[in-house]
Symmetry: C2
Subunit: 136 residues, 2 copies
């Protein structure tokens, strides 16, 4: 698996609180889940850029509105606004630079369901200015 994938997820409405579907092994047979963690992004902040050598990230926004930006192989950028109203999982294979931004006044919360446990040696980071992308 070496392509970025975007998959629609379901929200099941419930008057006591909605249920947001997420990762299902049967729909993601290639992924053995080894870590699940949660990243908050404070209002209007940007976390960029990161690239993994071996980790595949499966990202779901469960709070707020988060712009995901991924540098594609052709060096153009794929952007997607994730939120409960546009509820999706983005799969980012290794070797793509990506970043994300909280684009509302509400704190954003991004879930990463990944095939590897986090390891600093495996993740590269560069300064936001090292890739030319207009975040505004």
């Amino acid at each position: 698996m070496d392509e970025i994938k975007i998959k629609n997820l379901s929200v099941i409405n419930n008057e006591k609180g909605d249920l947001l579907k997420g990762f299902l092994k049967s729909e993601n047979k290639a992924i053995d889940v080894n870590e699940v963690y949660f990243t908050e992004i404070n209002p209007y902040e940007i976390k960029a850029w990161k690239r993994h050598k071996t980790m595949t990230c499966n990202l779901i926004a469960v709070r707020g509105k988060i712009k995901i930006v991924i540098q594609k192989k052709d060096k153009n950028y794929l952007t997607e606004i994730l939120s409960k109203d546009n509820y999706k999982m983005i799969t980012i294979p290794p070797n793509f630079w990506f970043g994300f931004q909280c684009i509302t006044e509400e704190i954003g919360l991004l879930v990463n369901i990944s095939n590897e446990e986090h390891n600093d040696d495996e993740a590269e980071q560069i300064d936001i200015n090292e890739l030319m992308f207009d975040w505004n």
Copy 2:
């Protein structure tokens, strides 16, 4: 594994947004993750009672303040208030009745990292009044 377990999790502070650690396979070797889903609980609402025949639930509160109530084998109740300030994962093996309540004005969000995909035949539900627990 047939006992309820409560495990402390780490919050890594970051000025752009904190990182909340969650499930690590190396620390939960008995659990193969087959589904990850998210349950919102609206302010002060209660979702109870549910019991699984085969699913083990691993619950983490990533937003708000959520009271988890589990009926133990001795019929007494274990309660725990989960929040980012008391950041933990509760493992509930099959065959325990449990429920949860959002106890603040902020919507609660509970993550379930489970060893099985959801299946209606596997989950039992009874009315809140069928077990004698004082939620107030």
